[in-house]
């Protein structure tokens, strides 16, 4: 099963490699870059939601931490972008650990509540700490990302960078799911009691997955900062956290491929349908509710049901 995932990854990589040749319009390339950045966040989030059975309502804040830390470190302290990205990821991981340690010991909604509160605090700090963040009007002049001698200053280069990292992120996620750790996490769908009696420390894996998913978001945030080179708090509020959750649920939260699909559809559709953009809140609310009630396994589940009506549950969770 891991082999079919690798095959899918290979096909994805090939398709991605040729996309820029087919798309000459820079505007569309830009949208695809945002799709890639969002996908990186939702891949991590789907590990948390689909496999660790937990939900974060603060992933926009982890994304924001990655973005602001990278931005501030590279503009104000002249830290080289790659080091800034890594430092930001490390810091975000520590913050996630701090939140996850006490709350993931408890069952149910505690992580959701804590991440929601944390997300809003981070949002407030981005607005209020004007000397550092520029406050509500934001700050700019973030340098371009530079790795070795290569400066990522065109959309084409950035497209390959972002989607290259998405493929790597998917590769890691697929590996984790099909490993000892992934199996341990999947036991939680059926019986945490049985898992415990097999020596599986479910709390520990939940915490690890939460931290990893925060790191995915942080890296995505850094990529975002070096791409748009200007940051303002509006991007990082609760509504983005909820949009991320919506993407994962819509695509299918029991599969990282669902996260990718949901992100692509919900990032591209509003660009092509004005009505969605105008009534985004209404549309997302309705989509989320309908999906949860009528097809909780999301788009991937629907597609799976069309193609192989029987083997759906196995397929989904592999």
């Amino acid at each position: 099963m891991i082999k079919s995932n690798y095959l899918a990854l290979l096909i994805l990589a090939l398709v991605l490699a040729f996309i820029p040749l087919a798309i000459s319009n820079v505007y569309y390339l830009g949208i695809l870059i945002f799709v890639g950045i969002n996908s990186l966040i939702t891949i991590g989030l789907s590990l948390l939601m689909g496999y660790a059975g937990q939900i974060s309502l603060g992933h926009a804040a982890f994304f924001g931490l990655g973005a602001y830390l990278s931005g501030v470190l590279s503009t104000r302290l002249a830290v080289p972008p790659v080091s800034a990205l890594l430092l930001a990821a490390l810091f975000t991981a520590l913050v996630a650990l701090l939140i996850g340690l006490p709350t993931l010991r408890l069952k149910g909604h505690y992580l959701a509540m804590a991440t929601l509160g944390f997300g809003q605090i981070v949002y407030i700090v981005f607005n209020a700490w004007v000397e550092m963040t520029g406050g509500p009007s934001g700050f700019g002049n973030i340098p371009r990302l530079r790795i070795g001698g290569v400066v990522f200053d065109t959309d084409l280069k950035y497209f390959y960078l972002v989607w290259g990292l998405v493929v790597v992120g998917l590769f890691f996620a697929v590996n984790i799911i099909h490993s000892r750790v992934g199996r341990a996490l999947r036991t939680m769908h059926t019986s945490e009691v049985a898992a415990g009696t097999l020596g599986i420390n479910t709390v520990r894996y939940k915490i690890q997955i939460f931290v990893i998913s925060a790191v995915y978001a942080s890296v995505a945030g850094s990529l975002y900062a070096y791409f748009v080179t200007f940051l303002s708090p509006g991007t990082f509020g609760i509504s983005f956290s909820i949009l991320l959750v919506t993407m994962v649920v819509f695509g299918g939260r029991f599969s990282v491929w669902g996260a990718l699909l949901g992100t692509a559809v919900l990032s591209i559709l509003p660009e092509s349908l004005r009505i969605i953009k105008d009534y985004d809140v209404l549309v997302y609310g309705a989509v989320l509710l309908l999906v949860m009630i009528f097809f909780p396994e999301g788009l991937v589940g629907l597609i799976g049901r069309v193609f192989r009506p029987r083997s759906l549950p196995e397929k989904l969770r592999t």
Binding site: M49, G53, Q54, I55, L57, I99, P102, T103, L106, K107, G108, H109, Y110, A112, M113, A114, L116, G117, F118, Q120, I121, I124, V125, N127, A128, I238, I242, V245, V249, Y279, D280, V281, L282, V283, Y284, G285, A286, L288, L289, M292, I293, P296
Partner: protein, 297 residues
Amino acid sequence: MTLGSQILQYIISGISIGSIYALVALGFNIIYNTTGIINFAQGEFVMLGGITAASLVTIFHVPILIAFLAAVIIVTAAGAFFERLAIHPLKNPSVITLIIITIAGSILLKGIAMFIWGKDTYFLPSFSGDRPIHFLGAAILPQTVWILGITGLVVILLSAFFKFTLAGKAMRAVASNRMAASLVGINVKKMVLFSFALSAAVGAVGGIIIAPIALMDYDKGAIFALKGFAVAALGGIGNFGGAIAAGLILGILEALGAGLISSHYKDAIALMVLLLVLFLKPSGIFGSAQESRLKKF
């Protein structure tokens, strides 16, 4: 103004905003106790109550009392409708499913509000003018008196409801033991519907009485939900007395913090309290109504 009367001023405004937080927290608790669900849409009931009443009064020139009642009824219906639509059909939902569903409900309600009222801000006139009452050097708005009075009334009515009415007793029975309640013939599903309607009503009242002080728009729900949440957690989730005490405490803390330290971080105070409670004492300072449930969920 002397520092003393200034502090008194902050405390008074803290108590009035704290009352609203307490009402939101009561709404959380009503649903939590009957269902074990944390209803993330609770803040939207507050917003809907405020914005409905405000538009009835300012656009349709409905008298305030009628607007008040109409808004409560409309929001109560919205709460019941949401339960029928989204909660009722679920069979054995996991906690994460319930969280996502109530979040979906919250953005749907917010989206509907945006559809109806647009992104404009709505203002509800004070119930009885704006001439302040002076008290020990502090100025008290008449609306503050209304807020305290109506909150007090709601609390009294709620406790009477739970103590003396059949439906109230049935809801308490479901809260303490769902299985036993259904064995003695209580219709648990109906009680779940009641709890959503009731907590929507309580939220709506909060939204209406605060609307003259805080302007209302479609986007206001989330912040009320967060604050109410912090209060419910601080008071111990499910604990009604705790919610009221915690509401007042947080309201006052927030007003003092905003006045004496920095208004930028005013909203962060309640959230910091929320995080501290979740990290250090998840059952709240007054203990949650059912600490054992805490472990169960």
